[in-house]
């Protein structure tokens, strides 16, 4: 019997599959990358196909399959919730229950039916709890022998947050916070109120928060209203939401618009409408409250476990601003966050829980900083596949047989203000592009943020960009004393690099604030002088490191802008064809795939303006 375990997350959002062989994470991918539907929740057929192929294991040889939650307990939560709120929630009941009694309650059969196409075997099907899957995804790959574990998201079965303790191969769940009292759903309610999409727009709310005026009376007033009326935040970080104001438990919306309007004095923002100062202040108020919740829960986790190290997962763990502040508080000696902290990462966690808890297998020694392999767990493509795309689209290119020459050329183009699509090796697992499916630009260029937001990503102008910095140069640019390989920490840009703010800066209109030059690396310095840092290590991604090092030789700066290789509303590119089409849809200047350089000026037109105008919202 092989020691290969397949992990699956599906049917809610961000479906994914992952595979382990003898406890080693071999491959993982999100279904959206193959189907090109953002946050695709369908059964991850393509992702399973890929991970099986990458592991060299046939389906019939799998030892077990682990699904990332317990459907029966989820159903129990739905029934009990409707029961406790009755007669409210009838509409929601009528829309949710038919799907459950027709399909989801028969999850085992549903999964087995879907898996029939891969083989005839019936490997053991396991259902670790949702938050145990998150906890396992955070602890086992972390490289810590022992750690406090904090998981936070919207909701799993009942749990919305857990504090666990991981020791060697065991995870002990110590405390749980239960639905409907959820830090994730609280943040999602404000995401909705500020006009962004729930389950995907939370990072926009986080990006909007620094535009709030920290010195204004309004922000403090909003914060007080939230803490007085919307929730009861306890000293240990647990919270009780005042369900008079929230409708997610029984309704089809997150909150009661009328009551919130009465409380805050302004209505919910219409999606895509102009962003006014009150929404920025509201975003800042709720961001500060979320940080307080994370801080208090972490403190409680430390008290309960006595641990000096913390690991985190769950969608809220993608709040890199809260993560950065927690790290800088010095509460823990070290913090590790699962790069695929959302539900996709549950696939890895479920498989790891099956291996270490169900199978009782010891953790293998970790020689790298962690067991995630830089999160480069997705498919790679050969030169042959890149060339066949070039032939299909009759795309002229230059081939560089020596990588150093390619690096030199690309670094020069970046230093001249060109924007480059960078497609190399295995695709990243998780929401961040970490240098294999990235769009790169010059962080020194004051116009780069505007250019990349509006002409390349077609997204809101206020959205900040993140830097990739050479690991050895982190401290030259940022107040950070350790690597940050997964772009999950927001930290201050070093004081020496900053330019002082003009008087009355916080009262300036958004656009004036946005394009004020704040540092000598304005492309990545957010409005509050912070940056969401990714560091690159020579060993973990040699090609990317070499490119930035070449850029440093030319400019003296070992830092570039790194944003995910996609346009608004689309998942990050997976194949060379996705990359080429995305390149042709945008105003990117160059595309590099493997050792091949494509110059936009020499390409044939592929899309009309109409196709570009059709780029969807996210």
């Amino acid at each position: 019997m092989s020691g290969t375990i397949l992990g699956i997350s599906a049917f809610y959002h961000d479906s994914a599959a992952a595979i382990l062989t003898d406890g080693e994470i071999i491959a993982a991918a999100q279904e959206e990358r193959f189907t090109r539907k953002k946050h695709d929740s369908s059964f991850p057929v393509h992702a399973i196909e890929y991970v099986l192929e990458a592991s060299g294991t046939s389906f019939n040889n799998l030892e077990a399959i682990a699904f990332y939650d317990k459907p029966f307990i989820k159903f129990e939560r739905l029934i009990e919730t409707y029961h406790s709120f009755v007669p409210r929630g009838l509409r929601s009941f009528l829309s949710a229950i038919p799907v459950w009694v027709k399909e989801k309650i028969f999850m085992k059969k549903l999964i087995r039916d879907e898996l029939q196409k891969f083989g005839t075997a019936r490997p053991r099907l396991l259902f670790p709890e949702h938050h145990l899957s998150h906890a396992a995804s955070a602890f086992y790959p972390s490289g810590f022998e022992e750690a406090a574990i904090l998981t936070l998201d919207g909701v799993g079965e009942w749990a919305t947050s857990t504090i666990c303790h991981g020791e060697h191969k065991q995870i002990r769940i110590i405390e749980e916070m239960h639905f409907p009292h959820s830090p994730g759903l609280l943040y999602s309610a404000f995401t909705y109120y500020c006009g962004f999409r729930v389950n995907s727009g939370e990072y926009k709310l986080m990006g909007l928060a620094p535009y709030g005026d920290p010195e204004s009376g309004r922000k403090e007033e909003l914060k007080k209203k939230i803490l007085d009326q919307l929730l009861d935040l306890r000293p240990d970080g647990s919270l009780l939401l005042n369900m008079k104001y929230f409708s997610f438990a029984t309704g089809l919306r997150m909150c009661h618009d009328r009551k919130w309007t009465g409380l805050f004095g302004f209505p919910p923002r219409k999606p895509e409408s102009e962003l006014s100062q009150e929404y920025m202040d509201l975003a800042l108020a709720v961001q500060e409250i979320l940080e307080e919740i994370v801080f208090r829960l972490s403190k409680k986790a430390k008290e309960l476990t006595g641990s000096e190290t913390l690991v985190m997962a769950g969608g809220v763990a993608l709040n890199s601003v809260a993560n950065g502040k927690l790290l800088q508080s010095g509460m823990f000696k070290d913090i590790w966050i699962q790069p695929a902290a959302g539900d996709a990462g549950g696939a890895i966690g479920a498989a790891l829980a099956a291996w270490h808890i169900w199978k009782g297998q010891e953790r293998p020694p970790i020689t790298e900083p962690d067991a995630m392999k830089g999160s480069f767990l997705g498919p790679a493509f050969s030169d042959h596949q890149i060339l066949s795309v070039a032939r299909k689209y009759e795309a002229p290119f230059i081939h560089y047989p020596h990588y150093s020459e390619l690096c030199q050329t690309v670094a020069e183009k970046l230093s001249q203000g060109d924007v480059v699509g960078w497609f190399q090796g295995r695709m990243e697992f998780g929401p961040r592009a970490l240098g294999n499916r990235s769009i790169l630009g010059d962080a020194r260029d004051p116009d780069m943020q505007k250019k990349m937001n509006l002409m390349i990503k077609f997204r809101e102008g206020f959205r900040p960009f993140a830097p990739t910095v050479l690991e050895e140069d982190i401290q030259e640019y940022f107040d950070l004393d350790r690597p940050s390989p997964y772009m999950l920490l927001v930290v201050p840009v070093r004081k020496e690099r900053l330019k002082s703010l003009p008087p009355g800066y916080h009262q300036l209109p958004l656009r004036e604030k946005l394009y004020f030059i704040r540092s000598d690396v304005p492309g990545i310095t957010h409005i509050d002088y912070s940056a969401r840092v990714q560091s690159v290590n020579k060993n973990s991604n040699a090609r990317y490191w070499e490119l930035i090092n070449e850029f440093k030789k030319i400019t003296g700066y070992g830092v570039v802008i790194n944003t995910s290789f996609n346009v608004r509303g689309e998942p990050i590119v997976c194949t060379p064809e996705d990359a080429y089409r995305c390149f042709m849809k945008t105003e990117m200047d160059y595309l590099v795939m493997g050792d091949y350089l494509f110059d936009k000026k020499k390409q044939k037109k592929l899309f009309d303006q109409g196709d570009i105008d059709e780029i969807g919202l996210d």
């Binding site: 029966f72 307990i73 129990e76 029934i79 229950i97 038919p98 459950w100 009694v101 027709k102 309650i105 028969f106 085992k108 059969k109």
Partner: protein, 49 residues
């Protein structure tokens, strides 16, 4: 059969026996709705509801 065994294990472990009649009724409804769409038992269902 596997479903019924799993369902029983769940109700037993979680001590949620009160959910059993509810789940049975919901599933019966679901089955009736599925079969009533264009099947021979449709007239039978219409006489009940």
């Amino acid at each position: 059969m596997e479903f019924l065994r799993d369902l029983w294990d769940f109700l037993h472990t979680r001590k949620k026996y009160w959910m059993l009649p509810l789940i049975i009724i919901l599933i019966i409804f679901a089955v009736l709705i599925i079969f009533s769409s264009g099947s021979a038992i449709a007239p039978f269902i219409y006489t009940i509801f």
